[in-house]
């Protein structure tokens, strides 16, 4: 039997994906299907004075036109957020279709349902909406000004919450006593997630059985069902609702959240007693998928004369957009502030975060969610400190790392890191990149007017957010455990049920590897089932790199139960005591003998229990729920080298080395794929991406003509090196690999560019580092002020 753990098994799901046979929500066509087109606001902020639907209703093929008020009148409530940050947090209503006011460009106002898509869109143009435009605010800092337009009626400011973590006084005192303070003001710009599959939903109400099926491109179908039935549509009984997330083409966080279109399609389907489908056009995705990041921060890092970090003080204004999306309050707080210690022993840290409403698309978790923002800030300010102190950036990091013998380590920002070996990862990365040689090459090149730079990013992340009790105390409105089920069929074939959801991560392979390994059966005898609330026990879905650490652990628990029971059956059949039976490579054996029974025979016995142990139930079908003891803490160091073209400002990444410690690795190929994609996404934010609004709230980056995605030819071949420090508290020793690349790479690339230009007086360039911004910085010298004058990307304003 091959050892499946640690083996680069080819992804079993890829055959259907690369042959175009995946089945995504939009591929599903049901008898009597109808199509929804949502009429969206072109105003960032306006009062709805009147809506005339009569002309649209008169279009041939139109079945109905509904407004927000129609839904509210029928008992539909506001979509809640899943997290409360403090009691004073403001949570203005978020109706699936706007009622009274629109709050951002793209806000839904009415829905037209017709027998085909084009007719629905034609008729949508006939919905006459009279608006009274209101002044809009798009920039979070501007939204806090006393005279700023107020986004939500009923609130007296745009402040959603004012949150802090850490000991303010101790931090202030340590800062005041510091030998050197590096100050860094930064914008972590807004980005658009851009999953390749646009969001889609189908509501399918069966009037005969009074049951609703919702197909949706979601990362967590159970959570969608819970939010829908418990909060948004209380008349909808949860046991009569099935939510299916079939193949989903990427999420990156943007498909975690409960979106208006899910409610609209579900509700309209009941109204019309016909299936209702909606699929976003790409231009709709840009203005309706929750965006990511969008912080404006000030960081101060205090150091003593030897370069020891003594204090970090951070103030952040986080743009939440127009409504509180499902995870939005948690992202710039519990997933951000808690990570500000990075890999360092900084004894005093204080962070204040103000969450702010603006007339923009809601902002929520995006690959990394809070942790990339924290890492960017920490790694940039550490880099600047090294430059200001004239220290080698690698050595400043090394000096301040938490040492391997200091774990478990309590940070001043509420986390307990369980394990780590930061210096190991740094050293390996330095060796892979050939640090000394590069510094020589850089000096040579500089003499010829060429601009080479090297950047570091030593990151930490906290994955598998848990345990439920702790997150509950922190304001989560849900638990963060996971379910796993193992159903052994009479023939010995196995179905695995997981409450996590795969939308590119390869769970169908990784989870099957674990089960095949544990049961000693061929991989093809294992089928992984996910994404259907009627088949899978209640689970929390996939985000925060939690699937293997939490979901995989639940599967391990269920496997333990299966193996325990199978052993009882085997012992009975072998007429031996249970303790004398061992399970090796798919066979139960009486220790020290050649008396054996195969797993398949045990399975058959469980379902044909003619000769069966007393007191044991028939069947071999076990469920488990796993609630972790702690987060897991992947970490690593990334190093890249770049060359800047002084004529055009174009940045080219020459080499990119990533050394990640994600704990034990089940499938190294899948882990590498995750790291590669993650790095590309983080490079995207560093160099290319940025959602830009003009000052009236009109999005200027509404398509791929203007919004730059990173492409293969923008990137070098990544050099990936692993280090393995197993997670001490979960049965697999795994930590999570989905976000590491993104968390590390943004700071890594910006640090490299600044390293290339620092001798020209440039200490920062705001992201994205577009050619024009780099060129301007080179021409103006000094800081990024001149570069910031360049268009593209930025802090939410053109």
């Amino acid at each position: 039997m091959p050892n499946f753990i640690g083996s680069p098994v080819k992804r079993v799901e890829d055959k259907r994906f690369i042959t175009g046979k995946g089945r995504y929500t939009d591929d599903i066509v049901l008898p009597g299907m109808t199509y929804a087109c949502i009429v969206r606001s072109e105003h960032a902020h306006a009062r709805i004075k009147a809506i005339d639907t009569s002309a649209a209703e008169a279009v041939d093929g139109v079945l109905a036109v509904f407004t927000g008020q129609d839904m509210v009148d029928d008992g539909i409530l506001s979509i809640p957020t899943g997290w409360a940050v403090g009691d004073a947090m403001k949570e203005p209503p978020h109706y699936p279709l706007a009622v009274g006011k629109v709050h951002h460009v793209g806000d839904g106002v009415a829905v037209v349902i017709a027998t085909d898509k084009a007719t629905a869109q034609d008729a949508a143009e006939q919905v006459m909406i009279e608006y009274e435009p209101l002044p809009a605010v798009v920039d979070a800092t501007a939204a806090l000004a006393p005279d700023a337009p107020i986004v939500h009626d009923g609130l007296d400011s745009n402040l959603c919450f004012d949150w802090e973590l850490g000991d303010r006084d101790a931090t202030d005192r340590a800062m005041a006593a510091a030998h050197h303070v590096t100050t860094y003001e930064l914008v972590n710009q807004r980005v658009v997630p851009n999953a390749i599959e646009p969001r889609s939903a189908i509501g399918h109400y069966d009037p005969a059985r009074e049951e609703l099926t919702l197909y949706t491109s979601s990362q967590n179908p159970h959570l969608i069902r819970l939010l829908l039935c418990a909060f948004v549509w209380p008349d909808l009984p949860e046991h009569k609702v099935r939510v299916v997330s079939p193949d989903v083409g990427g999420g990156f966080g943007s498909k975690i959240f409960h979106y208006p279109e899910e409610v609209i399609c579900a509700w309209a389907s009941k109204k019309l007693e016909r299936p209702v489908k909606w699929t976003a056009a790409r231009s709709e995705s840009f203005v309706t998928d929750a965006h990511g990041r969008d912080h404006v921060s000030t960081a101060e890092l205090g150091l003593d004369a030897e370069g020891n970090m003594v204090a970090l003080r951070v103030k952040t204004v986080a743009n939440l957009g127009a409504y509180l999306s499902t995870f939005a309050p948690a992202v710039p707080t519990y997933l951000y502030g808690t990570l500000l210690a990075g890999q360092y022993r900084t004894p005093h840290i204080h962070v204040n975060v103000k969450g702010v409403f603006t007339n923009t698309v809601p902002v929520d978790a995006y690959r990394g969610a809070g942790r990339p923002e924290a890492t960017f800030l920490v790694e940039r300010v550490v880099e600047l400190a090294a430059k200001e102190l004239g220290m080698d950036p690698a050595e400043l990091r090394r000096k301040n790392f938490i040492r391997p013998d200091e774990f478990p380590y309590d940070t001043p920002v509420a986390l307990q890191y369980d394990s780590g070996n930061y210096e190991g990862a740094l050293d390996k990365a330095l060796e892979m990149i050939g640090y000394e040689d590069f510094r020589r090459e850089q000096a040579e090149a500089r003499k010829q007017g060429r601009l080479l730079g090297i950047g570091f990013s030593s990151y930490i992340e906290a994955c598998g957010i848990a345990p439920s009790q702790v997150v509950g105390a922190l304001g989560a409105r849900a638990g963060l455990y996971e379910s796993g089920g193992i159903r052994v069929h009479p023939t010995g074939k196995v179905e695995v049920f997981t409450g996590t959801h795969s939308h590119g991560q390869g769970h169908e392979t990784t989870f099957a590897q674990i089960v095949a390994h544990e049961l000693g059966i061929p991989l093809e005898n294992v089928e992984v089932v996910h994404g259907d609330t009627s088949r899978v026990p209640f689970g929390m879905g996939t985000y925060g790199s939690r699937s293997l650490a939490v979901g995989g652990s639940a599967i391990m628990r269920a496997l333990d139960k299966v193996k325990d029971k199978a052993r009882k059956i085997a012992a009975h059949k072998l007429e031996a005591a249970e303790e004398d039976v061992e399970f090796v490579d798919g066979t139960f054996r009486v220790k020290g003998t050649d008396r054996t029974i195969g797993f398949g025979d045990v399975a058959l016995t469980a379902y044909v229990p003619h000769d069966y142990p007393e007191g044991v139930e028939p069947g071999l079908d076990e469920n488990a729920f796993y609630d972790p003891k702690n987060f897991t803490f992947p970490f690593g160091t990334h190093i890249c080298t770049v060359e800047v073209d002084p004529d055009t400002g174009v940045v080219r990444i020459l080499r990119y080395v990533a050394v990640d410690d994600v704990g034990n690795i089940i499938n190294p190929m899948i882990v590498e794929g995750q790291i590669h994609g993650g790095i590309a996404q983080g490079v995207g934010q560093a160099l290319f991406e940025g959602a830009v609004y003009d000052e009236t709230g009109q999005p200027l980056t509404g398509s791929y003509m203007d919004y730059t995605m990173p492409r293969a030819d923008d990137l070098p071949s990544f050099e990936v090196g692993h280090q393995v420090t197993p997670c001490p508290h979960n049965p697999l020793g795994v930590k999570g690999a989905g976000e590491a690349g993104t968390i590390a790479s943004t700071a890594c690339v910006v640090n490299a560019v600044v390293d290339a230009l620092y001798h020209r007086g440039i200490r920062d360039i705001p992201m994205p580092l577009t050619p024009e911004r780099v060129w301007r910085a080179l021409h103006a010298g000094g800081d990024g002020a001149a570069a910031a004058a360049a268009p593209a990307g930025g802090n939410g304003q053109a």
């Binding site: 898509k117 084009a118 869109q121 034609d122 056009a281 231009s283 004529d647 055009t648 290319f688 830009v692 200027l700 980056t701 791929y704 003509m705 203007d706 919004y707 730059t708 995605m709 923008d714 577009t770 050619p771 024009e772 060129w775 301007r776 360049a790 268009p791 593209a792 053109a798």
Partner: protein, 287 residues
């Protein structure tokens, strides 16, 4: 997103296409590769009532050598231009420009005639046809006429082409002895269209530039020739210093586009950088 409803006809001949075009009073559009027209229709920016599909007219999809000219049929795809032996031999700069258009899908469908007719300010071919002194052949039921590239581009998305006319051929003088051409493109990182693209053609004799044509796309509402640069180069050896001096101030930022991909000031700077690169390469090839 869906287009508005429209009718579709597949033309079997140029005549049939022109008859349909003339019969629909500006409401009909020719469909070639569809890579500019269909996106605009899906965004509902344009709403023709009839599409006349000319993509099957194979006579117009060939490259031939016609005296001292390359004759490129209007329906020749970017990919066919990129890989044509004739183009590579007689005008490699054009093949290189074609290779840099969009992505393989775009190059396999998009056509030179469609690109010129569409006259996107950021398209690549306009700089090439201007610098290479091409002629554009247009046919209607009234007959055939030819205009020089210099007279073809009128404004953003506007050309000398009348509503009832069709581009049938592009004629480009083959490069002679002592002549070289090159194209330098600064691609928009998002769309990969040109933020600034400069095509240059030079003729050298005894190390001296006898004539130069330099044309710029992407920077302004329409592609234009940098005639002042051309004049400054004439009669001088194409050294780095001469080129640097000649391209200085090539474009006035006040006349340039300014958008997320580059401010007018940056575009003006890129005009100089790309012109330098194109001229350097053209001169090397001519020598």
């Amino acid at each position: 997103m869906s287009t508005y409803a429209f009718d579709y006809a597949r033309a079997q001949s140029v005549d049939e296409a022109l008859t349909l075009l003339a019969g629909h009073d500006g409401e009909a559009r020719l469909l070639a590769g569809g890579h500019s027209l269909i996106p605009a229709m899906k965004l509902r920016l344009t709403a023709p009532t009839l599409l006349i599909d000319v993509s099957g007219l194979e006579d117009l999809a060939a490259v031939t050598l016609d005296g001292g000219h390359l004759a490129i049929g209007a329906l020749t795809t970017h990919r066919a231009v990129e890989t044509s032996e004739l183009v590579r031999t007689h005008c490699p700069a054009l093949a290189e420009a074609a290779a840099g258009i969009g992505d393989p899908q775009v190059r396999n469908r998009g056509t030179i005639g469609g690109s010129l007719a569409h006259a996107d300010p950021a398209a690549d071919y306009p700089a090439l046809v201007l610098a290479l002194d091409a002629e554009i052949e247009m046919t209607s039921r009234d007959g055939t006429r030819t205009v020089s590239a210099d007279d073809f581009f009128v404004d953003m998305y506007t050309t000398a082409l009348a509503a009832h006319e069709m581009i049938t051929r592009v004629r480009i003088p083959v490069l002679g002895h002592g002549e070289g051409a090159a194209y330098a493109k600064f691609a928009n990182p998002a769309s990969r269209y040109a933020v600034v693209g400069v095509a240059a053609k030079v003729s050298l004799a005894d190390g001296t530039c006898r004539a130069a044509r330099v044309a710029v796309t992407g920077a302004a509402p329409k592609a234009f020739r940098a005639t002042a640069v051309e004049r400054r180069l004439a009669g001088r050896p194409l050294t780095e210093a001469v080129i640097a001096e000649a391209v200085r101030g090539l474009a006035d930022p006040n006349e340039l586009l300014s958008d997320l991909s580059g401010s007018a000031e940056y575009r003006a700077h890129l005009c100089e950088v790309m012109a330098t690169r194109a001229l350097r390469e053209a001169a090397a090839r001519a020598a």
